[in-house]
Symmetry: C2
Subunit: 431 residues, 2 copies
């Protein structure tokens, strides 16, 4: 969270609470709004971003200059950078959200009771959503769009390194809301660049309904520990691939290489391989050279290291730090297990509960693995890279939850709603 | 929470964490269990309670003697008391839970993607559930039954005044589990009678998946503020009845009297009446005498007080404390509003988000009220007393959630589950 303390400017609790109170008022106005009104606003926001392209790029340059002057690595500066093409992509995202169904009003369950009472459980907005996130300014617009569509007011607390960029983005979105006659306070930036403003946001229980931190493990863990506002934990992935005794080994190699190497810097990339002893020799003889060719460094237990030697592939010795690691790089921890239950026990010990994959043709093994691993997603004969809202058909996602309450796994618009029981009668009383 | 500090005995963090760790091991064994095995255990638990009736009554007497010696009011002593009849009722509750469908394995959503991947979202147990509750020892058995049925291990922290009774109840349940070959640590009492053990439980993040406090406002608020384990808030109800301009006034009187007076000591009883000015005179002329006859004391604003004078019913002057009160007694705050929106604004300000009722024949008024009040349940032309798991057909309930995340309103077995995404392919990789 170092980038949040750069240019520290004190923000008073009163400032943050004032913003949160305005958000509550806006949320009350948003709740009964029709899909038509919300979609019109989303399209107007997309149009406004287009129209303000050069203004946004100019302000973004200030953030980039400050970041370079502070010695920020090129990769982070790149994540901060907005170009006309990137702005067009962000605007297109808003149009895609407009095309999604409105989650508000969806009837989750509905039935009639013997006494004639009609019961339904209906989706309603959460109210005020706080987003705390790191460098990428596209999250500012994505979160604003998803929250508006689901009838929520949003409080945005991006990184201080993107403060000027986020400010102009929010200004543009609010101008579009005003033009459409919607409450501008539906989208607000939390004032201040210091950690103080995050702290005050985390204590605004009663005003803010949920906080969603998006970023590295340190950010998420600090929010989870300190917040009195309910939190949805997102994203950190120590992801496992288990190759079972009954696996199709050729398919297993393809899935493993895809899970590890197709895009190693994301949370659904594999970090650990576990292979059943019965097939370890045959599998590793093909898998280790394939991983090597994909540029992957294997951190191996004794049996995997021996297989590496036989295959002429150099491996490093695996440590507990490796089993615990979310590398987000072309590294992979690997070990041999003597049973499916041993694989599950390993996963339950080390996993972050994001995604695990099993490769097998045994229905019994699938059943056992699925009912015991205890993670947000289980891939059966498929790459872990599919744990993604768009890939699973949810449309845009607000994040991937690794907690068990409320929402688990990729979160679409539904995760930004609560429900209300609506019970209708004709003067019914209890006797 | 005074009853929790009586007979304070220090409990070390290590003791509580040891219990929680055993619960995690039990939870792993419970997760893949079939409905048949769980139902057999529930029936065996019911049988064991019957068989141990006199042993339970004897131990219960110790708690009752201690309570009387400490000057505990008769009403609380009554809540603590177990008789053979009450034990039979508690055992019958377990049989009813056995008869309910198993929530584990329920497919919440399922579909196939264009690329042939099969996607489903399946209910799985939460893992380890911590219950923190006050006097009534029946909660010990009810919670154990509901948690077992939903595949969760439970940690029970009842009030210190029921410690001996809870200990024998849990012993009996564990003996039944052992007889059935189920892990006995699926049901455990948290050791210790002091507040220390509650504190350690609230900090057992990573070992305990959720805490559910059941009891008064002070207990719930202390758990919500102090816990790092996720909490489901339950129960406190400042419940409103709004009589709209388009209400059927005769039905409205019946519903109001039922909501307030049928059982005033429960959380779904009405605490505040709001009447639209257009019908206030006619409605109050009938409602105030009816309330009076039911023994209700009305805390009235000026216009209601004037109606009281006309009807010959004495009222008290309403204060902000009354608007905020959950009386749980035969008291009712009452005021006249000039519009539905004024009623909603009053409710949004004072409600605890449990249940609100609207009495009206106007579809537009229903629509506006439902989409703006922001509570767990809305009763339309029905008594607020219907906010109850059994009344709404959920079977036994673990509590009534007044929070927005995860579960809202009456919580049945489904609220004790999380979900896992299961994605099945044939060697699918991402390109």
């Amino acid at each position: 969270m170092t980038d949040m303390t750069v240019d520290a400017i004190d923000t008073s609790e009163a400032d943050v609470l004032a913003v949160a109170r305005r958000a509550r008022v806006a949320a009350t106005a948003l709740a009964p709004m029709t899909r038509q009104d919300k979609d019109a606003a989303l399209l107007a926001m997309a149009e406004a971003l287009h129209a303000a392209g050069s203004r946004i790029v100019t302000v973004n340059t200030e953030d980039l200059d400050r970041a370079r002057a502070a010695g920020t690595p090129d990769s982070l500066v790149d994540r901060l950078t907005l170009t006309p093409e990137r702005i067009a992509g962000i605007a297109e995202g808003l149009r895609q959200v407009a095309a999604l169904p409105d989650p508000v009003g969806e009837v989750v369950t509905g039935y009639q009771l013997p006494n004639g009472l009609s019961v339904s459980q209906v989706r309603v907005p959460l109210g005020v959503v706080g987003m705390i996130y790191e460098a990428r300014p596209n999250v500012t617009v994505d979160a604003a769009g998803l929250c508006l569509k689901s009838g929520n007011a949003v409080l945005l607390r991006g990184s201080s390194s993107a403060y000027a960029t986020n400010t102009v983005l929010v200004d543009v979105l609010r101008e579009a809301l005003a033009d459409q006659g919607l409450p501008v306070d539906a989208v607000q930036l939390v004032p201040g660049r210091s950690h103080d403003s995050v702290k005050h946001l985390m204590r605004a229980r009663g005003l803010v309904d949920v906080l969603i931190p998006r970023g590295g493990a340190a950010l998420i863990s600090s929010v989870v520990q300190e917040s009195t506002v309910p939190v949805i934990e997102t994203g950190v992935g120590n992801v496992h691939v288990y190759v079972d005794a009954a696996a199709d080994l050729a398919k297993a190699v393809d899935v493993l290489v895809n899970a590890k190497a197709q895009r190693p810097t994301v949370c659904n990339a594999a970090e650990t391989l576990l292979v059943h002893a019965d097939v370890a020799e045959g599998f590793l003889a093909v898998a280790l050279p394939a991983l090597d060719q994909a540029g992957v460094t294997v951190h191996a237990d004794e049996r995997v290291a021996a297989a590496g030697e036989r295959a002429g592939v150099v491996t490093l010795a695996v440590t507990d730090e490796d089993w615990a690691a979310e590398y987000y790089s072309l590294d992979l921890a690997a070990g041999v297990v003597d049973s499916l239950d041993e694989a599950v026990a390993h996963i339950r010990r080390w996993s972050s509960g994001h995604t695990e994959a099993i490769l097998t043709d045994s229905a019994a093994a699938i059943r056992r693995f699925v009912s015991t691993v205890d993670s947000a997603a289980v891939m059966v004969n498929a790459s872990t890279r599919f744990t993604d809202g768009e890939q699973l058909g949810l449309g845009a996602e607000i994040g991937i939850s690794t907690q068990k309450l409320h929402a688990r796994g990729p979160m679409g618009l539904g995760a930004l709603t609560s429900t209300t029981w609506v019970v209708s009668g004709d003067g019914h009383v209890r006797t």
